[in-house]
Amino acid sequence: MKRFIFATAKYESGDWESAPNLPAALLDLMAKYTTIDCAPAGVIVELGSEELFEYPFVWLTGHFPVRFTERERANLRRYVDRGGFFVIDDHNHDIEGAFHLSVVEEINRTFGPLETVPNDHEIYTCFFEFEDGPPTTSHELNGWGDQLIHEELFAITRNGRICLLYSNKDYSSEWDLRPDTKRFMSLDPTRFGLNLIVYALTR
């Protein structure tokens, strides 16, 4: 079985590198709870490159407005059609923010409208169980960003499988931890991230 490598998408516009520790935080959890062979650190892959298709799970985040190039857009469409799992997370956690507005517009242009992921979807139960849907983040609870708790995630699906997951809950802030930092926490906040990876690899 090929080794799992966490990939962060680099795109032409915006600050794609805004959550540098997130891959390690998720990989740490992955090693703690699964026997999946995984690389200890993530890689950065250009959204417009052929290397994108080497990775079954790709994370994209940022604060700035997102404008995909034609090549990035075509690559993303192909990636999703071919069964990849692409996560887009709004680092601003702000539904009026430029990242949210621009990236949703890009998704609309590329795939059509996003669907709401029901809170009893198996992505919330495929490893750790989250009865109420997507776990809230401390940023939401502290009232930062748009001062909203976003109840649901959104997705583009293919044949009933989520292929592109869009979140404006700002997991990129919540999970941007060095693994060592978790020892000060009573509950690992990155657990939902493992659900995403397990879903991507097994569904």
């Binding site: 516009s13 390690a24 959890l29 650190a41 604060h63 430029a98 060095r178």
Partner: protein
């Protein structure tokens, strides 16, 4: 043969005649009932389809019932004695002599002979019932089934002429002379396709179309024959039934709808008649726009000056307006992100192609170093039906550099720069090795002079490593990584050896320190320049140490989901295996395949259109089927190597 035996033989023959008559009447009556019910079913289907269905379901029970009734009415033929009784009833003059003869009670042959003679006497005088002769049986059968046959023939005539159909549907009960046969009210259709007004395109006449193509939102009007719309149903795909109205100022009906956004089948049904018309919408293309200025992404140091913008715009029908959209992103330095959006140089257009151009002052945006501007051109077309269509250009990014050295690096964040100190240690080791190699040929004074700068550099690196140790311990509060302490010790030792110009000994300690720092670099991402790379996970150390409860659901294999191409190939195979089906079935099957292809596999639509044309024109389907199969299944795959049944080379079996 005695007279009694002769009479008994005639009795048996009479019984056989009665049985034959019962069998023929029952069979013919059953057939007549089935015929009548089938005809009634066909007649009632347009008006009362549920009753027609019931009639079809009741065919066998009704036939069985008819057979049962007829056999019950002929139950007197069950035995010779009952036949004798029946004859006694028909010919009272027999005076029970035949029954007496048939029941065997007259065992005395002479007495039996007398009875037989009496029967003979009556027969010669009154004769057997005419119904028992062969012509009589035929006539009787004919008379029994004639009403049923007449009713069935009448119903068949009504069905064929359509008289009852029109009587049932036409208001006033008057048939319309010259009307098409009922059920064919959807056979001939005329109409128009009117493109949306914003296009200015003329109306297109539709002459009994099998396929209607036009812009999404075009109004389609179809007219058919018949005085009434009852019984006719039209729907697009799986949608709700469309409304049909009486055609104004002429006989017939009219159907109007807007061209849907996706290729669909317009299904028309009228009783048993079905017809699928392929709707092939053509979307109004979104306008195209190309940003010509700024030509590429750029970085600028000055936040003032002019920004020149230019774009070329184009649309397949017409442009309505265009503008530049400028997004200013602020705060990457402070972390307090903010955005503002502006439209610049918006202007209307009334052509299909145009240029948009303008120059603006950067000072208007109140820019600070570290901010960035994203520019794109946006264009809107004249589509007011399904639009407006909006086109966006690529986005150009202009970054305003901060006044720090890192701002000189390229736009996209680079990997962490190679550490100066580490590079210096590597350089120090290399330079020291070179000096050590030249040491035998150098004079002592020269050698010492060359050692001096290396000694200073060694001291600097030691101080830097000491700084890392201090930073890690935070004044002695935290343990310092052993490797870092080891590297510091080694640098101290190297420094001491360099002080006494023992370069060979110093090299050993420098290399030890280098190895330790490199290991530390890899393990903890400790960057000597002070900037840390993203963390990495200690995968092997933490493997399976998690303690939180896990709720992993059982995985289930998803059902195979064929691609559109595979689905169409399977449907084509079904079609190929049913070429002897009705023309209507073939037409509908191909039309629905066309709709699916137009939606999801446009490259196969032309081949299926060819197949549809061949069907309509009664041409040989072979070439069209082969072409469609080639498009859907691809070229034949040649497998290199032996086939499954080929003998091995050189084997003589």
């Amino acid at each position: 043969m005695t007279t009694a035996s002769h009479d008994l033989a005639i009795l048996r023959k009479t019984r056989r005649g009665l049985l034959l008559r019962a069998a023929m009447i029952s069979l013919l009556s059953a057939a007549g009932v089935v015929w009548l019910m089938l005809t009634l079913s066909a007649l009632l289907r347009p008006l009362l389809p549920s009753i027609a269905e019931w009639l079809n379901l009741l065919l066998l029970p009704a036939a069985a019932a008819v057979v049962g009734v007829v056999l019950w009415r002929h139950r007197h033929a069950r035995s010779s004695l009952r036949v004798a009784l029946w004859l006694e009833e028909q010919i009272p003059e027999l005076g029970y002599s035949l029954v007496t003869l048939a029941d065997g009670s007259a065992r005395d042959s002479s007495y039996a002979e007398k009875i037989a003679q009496r029967v003979q006497s009556v027969r010669s005088r009154a004769g057997w019932p005419a119904a028992l002769s062969l012509p009589g049986v035929g006539w009787h059968v004919l008379r029994a089934v004639a009403p049923l046959a007449f009713a069935a023939v009448l119903a068949q005539i009504l069905l064929a002429t359509g008289w009852t159909y029109n009587w049932a549907f036409v208001s006033g009960g008057a048939a319309v002379p010259g009307q098409r046969a009922p059920g064919n009210r959807i056979a001939v259709l005329q109409g128009e396709l009117t493109p949306p007004a914003y296009t200015g395109w003329p109306t297109e006449v539709l002459d009994n179309p099998e396929r209607i193509g036009g812009l999404v939102g075009s109004q389609v009007s179809l007219r058919g024959e018949g005085e009434d719309t009852r019984g006719i149903e039209a729907r697009i795909g799986d949608g709700d039934p469309l409304r049909l109205d009486a055609a104004p100022q002429r006989s017939g009906w009219v159907l109007g709808f807007a061209m849907p956004a996706l290729p669909s089948g317009l299904l028309l049904t009228d009783g048993d008649n079905r017809r699928v018309i392929v709707l092939e919408p053509r979307p109004d293309e979104a306008p195209q726009v190309r940003l010509t200025l700024p030509e590429v992404d750029a970085e600028r140091r000055e936040t003032t000056g002019e920004l020149e913008l230019a774009a070329s715009l184009r649309d397949d029908i017409g442009l309505a307006a265009g503008w530049f959209e400028v997004l200013v992103a602020r705060g990457p330095e402070s972390g307090d992100y903010g955005f503002s959006e502006e439209r610049l140089f918006q202007r209307p257009f009334d052509t299909a192609e145009a240029e948009l151009r303008g120059t603006t002052e950067l000072g208007n945006f109140n820019l600070n170093p570290g901010d960035q501007i994203l520019v794109r051109a946006v264009v809107q077309d004249v589509n007011d039906v399904t639009g407006p269509g909006i086109g966006y250009s690529e986005t150009r990014t202009i970054r305003f550099l901060r006044d720090i050295p890192e701002a000189d690096v390229e736009i996209n964040p680079a990997p962490p720069p190679i550490d100066e100190s580490l590079m210096s240690l590597r350089m120090l080791i290399r330079d020291t090795e070179r000096l050590e190699a030249r040491r035998p040929e150098l004079e002592r004074a020269v050698f010492l002079a060359e050692v001096a700068p290396l000694l200073m550099h060694t001291g600097n690196i030691r101080v830097k490593v000491q700084g890392f140790v201090d930073e890690a311990s935070v004044g002695g509060s935290f343990n310092v990584p052993e490797l870092l302490l080891f590297a510091l010790d080694e640098m101290w030792e190297a420094n001491r050896q360099m002080t006494i110009a023992e370069t060979d000994d110093a090299l050993v300690h420098m290399r030890n320190a280098y190895d330790a720092l490199m290991t530390l670099f890899n393990l903890t991402r400790y960057f000597l320049r002070g900037e840390m790379l993203p963390a990495h996970a200690e995968v092997d150390e933490v493997r399976m140490t998690g303690e939180e409860p896990v709720h992993a659901t059982v995985r289930s294999q998803r059902e195979r989901e064929d691609s559109v191409r595979q689905q169409l190939a399977a449907q084509l195979a079904v079609l190929s295996g049913n070429l002897d089906a009705t023309a209507e079935w073939l037409d509908e099957h191909v039309a629905l395949m066309q709709v699916a292809a137009l939606r999801d596999l446009p490259e196969a639509a032309a081949a299926l259109e060819g197949l549809s044309r061949a069907l309509r024109q009664g041409e040989s389907l072979g070439p069209a089927l082969a072409e469609a199969r080639a498009v859907l299944e691809g070229p034949a795959q040649v497998e290199v190597g032996l086939s499954g049944w080929a003998p091995l080379p050189g084997r003589s079996e």
